[in-house]
Symmetry: C2
Subunit: 358 residues, 2 copies
DNA sequence: TTGTATGCGTTATCAT
DNA sequence: ATGATAACGCATACAA
C-alpha cells in the first residue's frame, strides 16, 4: 500500500515499490515456485533452501499479495458476522471475540448489523456481496421457523445463539435453559424461597426469554418449590428502565420476593435500582441474579451475580467450524451439520446472599 | 462463493459455476471491455449497449470478482478501524457508524482493537497486514506527543478523537472543551450555583479528561461563578462504580453541591445512584449531567441529560476523507492535512431541573 | 463508442 | 526437492 496520490490521479500507478515473489526468487537464486512453497509452508523443501528464501524475504520486506492469492484460490479470507446490533453490549463483546479468533486463523471479519429487521437479515444472507466472502456466522433474531428455507445458502454458514429451528445448518448454541436453571437453583441454595422472575415474554417458546423462563420453572420444580404466577413479571424490552418498571410493579403489588432472577443484566441493574429506591437492600432483603455477564455487571452496586454464557467458546467454535467448512478439512468435513451447546458458568458476586452453612 | 467441498479436498475447484465478464460479453454480443465499462459506470457507453449488457448481467447473475479487480487495481476496498476496545459502548457505537458509512462508499471495515496497549497501537499502524488494506482510521489512546513519528505511515491515515498532537495527519476531532462548557453552562442556567465535576485526571491536559475539565472551568468563569477546589473529584477510571465512589466521597465530605457534571455517562450513572442512596433526589436536590450520550443513558432513572459528541459526523467525515485520500480526488486531494472539529449537542432529559423562567 | 491484447502476483500442473 | 508455465478474472493502453 502506498500514500495517496497528491496530484489528483490514481494512487500507486507508477512507483513499483511492491516486492513480488519473482524478485525474492531472483535474490534467493531459486524459482518462484520454491518461494511459494516456503511462503505456504509446503512440507518438502530442504532446510537450506528454506533458509535462503526466508532470508531473501526478510531483506526485501516481501509480503504476499493477498488479492493475487485470493484470485488464484477463489477465496478472499474474509467472513461475515451477521448480528442484530453492534451497539448491544452482548454483540459488541461477541464481535470482539470473533474478530480475535478469526485473526488467529488468518481470517478477517466484516461485521454486518441487521438492526432488528427481518428484511435486513434476509438481505445479509442473500446479498450478492457474499460472492466475495468465504462464509458467514449468523446470529438470527427476527428470522423464525417459517424462514428455514432462507438458511439454505450456497456458502458455508454457521448459526450461533439461542434459537433452534433447524438441524440442517451448523449451529453453536448457548445454554439458556440450563443457565437460568443454574441461576434460579443458586438463589434457592442461598435460602431464597420466593424467587421472582423478570423479563418474561408470555407465550414465547424458542427465544431466549422462553428458554430462560423454562429453566426458571424447572429449577423450582426440582427444588420442590411451588410455582407462583404472581412472581412472574413480563417485560417486552430488556433495557435497564424495563427492569425498573417491572420491579416497581412487583413490589407495589404487595408480593414480597426474597430473590429475583432477571433474564438479563440490564433488567437486573434496573431491578436493583428499584429495590433500593423502595428502601430495601440488595442482597440483605432481596437477592438479585442476572444473565449474560455483561462487561459492566461487575461495576454495578452491588456487583452483580450473573450467568456467563461462554461467549469465548461460542466465538472460538463457530470460527473453527466455519474455517473447516471453508477448507473442507477435518474434523468438520462430514456432511452432517455440527451441533454444539456451550456451557454457561455462574459468576458469584455481591448481589446474592452467601450459600447457607458456609 | 460456493459450498464447502464435502470430500475433504479444496472447494470450488472444478465446478465452474462462476459467471465471468467474458460470458456476459458473449451473451450480450459485445466485447469484455464494454461489459467492464458498464460495470464501472464508464460515461461513454451508448444507452442501447448499456441496456443489452445490463440485461445479460441480470440473466446470468453475474457479479464482479473483487479479488481480480483488486489485483488489477492494486487495491482491496478494505480499510482498518483501529480503536482501543470494541466492547466500550463509545467505540462500539463509533464502529457501528463507521461500518455503515464505509458501506455507502463501497468500503469494508476491519475493526482492530488495540486493548489499551501502546505496543498494540504501534503494531496496528505498522503491521505488514496493511499491505492489503487501502487505509486506516485511528483513534489513539496510549500514543502520545513523543510518538508523533509513528503516525508517518505510507498509507492514507485519518485520526479521530480528542488528542491533538500533530498537524501532519488528517484529523477529525470531537468537541471536548466546548461540550463540557455547554454542559456546565446549562446547569448554571437551570439555577445551579455549586456545580461539582466528577472524573478529573489531575495534571492531565490533552486527554478527554483534561479538555473536559477545562471546559468546566471556562463555563464557571464566563458565568461569574467562583471555582471551588472542593467540588472537584478525581477518578482514574470512568466506570459506573467510580462514579459511585466519587459521589459518595463528595457527599460524605460535607460539601453540598446542587449540580454535578460527570465527565462521562457511566460516571453520571454511578453518581445518580450514590445520590439516591443518600436519600436525595435527582434532579430536585442535585442535577446531574453526563457526557457521550451513550446508548443506555436514556434508560437510566431518571433519564440522563447529556452531551452528544456527534459521532455520526465523525464517522461520516473520517470515512469520506479517507476515501478521497485513497482515490486521490477532490475535495480532499490537497497536500494539506484536513482538520475538522465536530460540534457537540446538548440532549436534555430528566436528570436536570428545568431552565428557570420557562 | 467499442474491441484486442497484455499483465497484475499468485498458485497448481506437470515435468524433471 | 525444485523449475517452467499456464491460468485465475479483471482493467486499461492502444487501436479501430
Amino acid at each position: 500500500m502506498e500514500t495517496a496520490a497528491e496530484d489528483g490521479t490514481k494512487a500507486r500507478s507508477g512507483d513499483s515499490r511492491v516486492v513480488t515473489m519473482r524478485e525474492v526468487a531472483k535474490k534467493a537464486g531459486v524459482s518462484i515456485k520454491t518461494v511459494s512453497n516456503v511462503v505456504n509452508d509446503y512440507e518438502y523443501v530442504s532446510d537450506a533452501t528454506r533458509e535462503k528464501v526466508t532470508k531473501a524475504i526478510d531483506e526485501l520486506g516481501y509480503i504476499v499479495n493477498v488479492s493475487a492469492r485470493n484470485l488464484r484460490r477463489g477465496q478472499t479470507g474474509v467472513i461475515a458476522l451477521i448480528i442484530p446490533d453492534l451497539q448491544l453490549p452482548y454483540f459488541a463483546q461477541l464481535s470482539s471475540l470473533v474478530i480475535t479468533e478469526a485473526k488467529k486463523l488468518g481470517l478477517q471479519v466484516i461485521v454486518e448489523p441487521t438492526l432488528y429487521s427481518r428484511d435486513g437479515e434476509i438481505a445479509a444472507l442473500h446479498d450478492g456481496r457474499h460472492a466475495m466472502l468465504d462464509g458467514a456466522i449468523f446470529s438470527p433474531l427476527e428470522l423464525g421457523q417459517e424462514d428455514v428455507a432462507q438458511l439454505e445458502v450456497d456458502y458455508p454458514l454457521v448459526l450461533i445463539g439461542e434459537r433452534i429451528f433447524t438441524d440442517k445448518v451448523d449451529h453453536i448454541a448457548t445454554e439458556n435453559v440450563e443457565g437460568a436453571k443454574r441461576a434460579t437453583g443458586y438463589l434457592v441454595q442461598t435460602g431464597c424461597r420466593r424467587v421472582a422472575v423478570l423479563g418474561v415474554h408470555p407465550g414465547e417458546k424458542v427465544g431466549s426469554a422462553g428458554l430462560r423462563f423454562q429453566g426458571y420453572k424447572e429449577a423450582l420444580e426440582e427444588n420442590g418449590i411451588d410455582f407462583d404466577e404472581r412472581l412472574v413479571v413480563p417485560a417486552g424490552m430488556w433495557h435497564r428502565s424495563d427492569g425498573v418498571s417491572a420491579m416497581n410493579e412487583l413490589l407495589d403489588s404487595g408480593v414480597k420476593p426474597d430473590g429475583v432472577v432477571a433474564l438479563n443484566d440490564m433488567l437486573a441493574s434496573g431491578a436493583m435500582h428499584a429495590i433500593q429506591m423502595h428502601g430495601l437492600s440488595v442482597p440483605e432483603d432481596i437477592s438479585v441474579i442476572g444473565f449474560d455477564n455483561s462487561d459492566d455487571s461487575q461495576y454495578l452496586s452491588p456487583a452483580l451475580t450473573t450467568i456467563a454464557p461462554g461467549l469465548e467458546a461460542v466465538a472460538r467454535l463457530s470460527v473453527k467450524v466455519l474455517k473447516n467448512r471453508i477448507d473442507g478439512v477435518a474434523p468438520f468435513d462430514s456432511t452432517d451439520p455440527v451441533f454444539r451447546k456451550v456451557s454457561s458458568t455462574l459468576i458469584v458476586r455481591d448481589s446474592t446472599r452467601r450459600v447457607i452453612g458456609r
